[in-house]
Symmetry: C2
Subunit: 115 residues, 2 copies
DNA sequence: CAGTATCCTCAAAGATACTG
DNA sequence: CAGTATCTTTGAGGATACTG
């Protein structure tokens, strides 16, 4: 993550901060299909540690990209969902996917492979 | 930069690697208007060190995103230019700009901010 | 001009263990 | 289940000085 004054030098750089950190874009894509729970995200982001996932989610929440909804049930349930701002990132993700597919030699369906 | 095996897990993640490192997107955008020389890039990327700029350019070259053209003149002249693959990143940059402009509160004309 | 060569900092991210 | 608490690594990126 860049220091705040750096992020504000231009809209592209600011957006790069969101898009650049390792898991954010994957999380946004994951959440594009609906609310997800902590453990679901943990499983779809193979290799992420709970510490990192929690930190990323907290950061995404602070950026108003996801909302955290906590239900006081037993067992406890927490769900994360994209905000409008988060959903506005989806065309960008799609564009990244397109570029990756077209120029980086990896197909477009790796994130959520059909079971 | 992610280790290679990580970059291949999915097209989005692979693209994130390009788009995520601090200066690449700025450089690509800079080069979108035509070939640029080392010093020109150094000046437009305010704050970048020659070490980092050289490294970034070498990396972009290795990724076939830019071409380096060296002219054996005196004084020496080197120009960097986008490849087709590099140019294919421009819609992505545009999309980042759009998002940044619309949601991150920094305009698309930072070079000439409204007085 | 177009870079290298060194050295250094700092924060992102991982591993592991534990908890309300 | 949904995290927190520590500790550690690692490497991107910066500062500065120098060169073909």
């Amino acid at each position: 993550m860049l220091p705040v004054h750096e992020t504000q030098t231009c809209s592209v750089a600011a957006c790069a901060e969101i898009v650049g950190s390792k898991w954010t874009v994957l999380l946004v894509h994951d959440l594009s299909e609906g609310p997800r729970r902590f453990t679901e995200l943990e499983h779809s982001c193979v290799g992420i540690s709970p510490r990192t996932l929690a930190e990323r989610l907290r950061w995404l929440e602070s950026e108003d990209i996801v909302v955290r909804r906590s239900y006081a049930e037993s067992p406890p349930r927490v769900e994360y969902e994209l905000t409008d701002k988060g959903a506005a990132l989806l065309p960008l993700v799609a564009e990244m996917r397109r570029f990756g597919h077209e120029w980086l030699g990896c197909g477009p369906h790796e994130v959520n492979p059909p079971a």
